[in-house]
């Protein structure tokens, strides 16, 4: 994982943890979990894109 993505992931995890601690609502916790899952899926997608670009680039050389 690149530094930028790792920093984003950490910041997001922290924000979600803080928000979940403040709220006692089950709906809010579900939403935060979905938010986190979407963020992880996006990060995974960005990583896959980076891998694809590197592999395509490498294949050309």
């Amino acid at each position: 994982m690149s530094n930028d993505l790792a920093i984003r992931k950490q910041a997001l995890e922290q924000a979600i943890r803080n928000a979940a601690q403040r709220s006692g609502s089950a709906a809010f916790e579900l939403r935060m979990r979905k938010q986190y899952e979407v963020a992880l899926a996006i990060i995974q997608h960005l990583e896959l894109q980076a891998q694809r670009e590197v592999l395509l680039d490498w294949g050309k050389k």
Partner: protein, 165 residues
């Protein structure tokens, strides 16, 4: 203090007293309206800022659809705390739909990356001179950390030494 100023102040107070005495009903109405506005406007602003996200939430969906993944990631961290179960449940549903789309795309992209990795592995396996390949990759600006790591990982998996060792 200047006498003129004192006279003006007394006159102003007298005038205000006269206005209140004469039109106290109107004055009270104006004060009530001002108080209502002072309460209602901040409440409206607070409510709009908090719950308008129900309408704007699909922005994450739009960004993902358009391939703006970095923006979508930033947008995700900006979703405000709603405080209403209905709002949170609705946002969770939106996010569920986005997640389904992302999972499908990741599966497709993962398959492609896997295929490309296999191709790269086949290339390395069929090439005798790995050191040359690594040198060329570095010299041609192959500076991505992932690229280096991948090449070295592949090299190691075939028992080849890399220049970093």
């Amino acid at each position: 203090m200047d006498e003129g100023l004192i006279i003006v102040v007394i006159a102003a107070i007298a005038f205000i007293g006269w206005v209140i005495y004469t039109y106290w009903g109107t004055v009270l109405t104006i004060i009530a309206i001002c108080a209502a506005v002072a309460v209602v406007v901040p409440l409206l602003v607070w409510g709009i800022r908090k719950y308008v996200y129900l309408i704007t939430e699909p922005r994450v969906t739009t960004m993902v659809d358009n391939g703006n993944y970095t923006s979508a990631l930033d947008e995700l961290s900006r979703i405000p705390e709603a405080g209403l179960s209905l709002v949170d449940s609705t946002i969770a549903q939106h996010l569920d739909e986005v997640l389904a789309v992302l999972n499908q795309r990741n599966a497709e992209l993962g398959s492609e990356v896997s295929r490309l990795k296999q191709n790269a592995e086949r290339t390395i396996r069929s090439t005798g001179n790995l050191e040359d390949r690594l040198r060329v990759a570095r010299e041609t600006g192959h500076s991505e950390e992932f690229g280096k790591a991948l090449i070295e990982q592949l090299a190691k998996s075939y028992g080849m030494r890399t220049s970093r060792e």
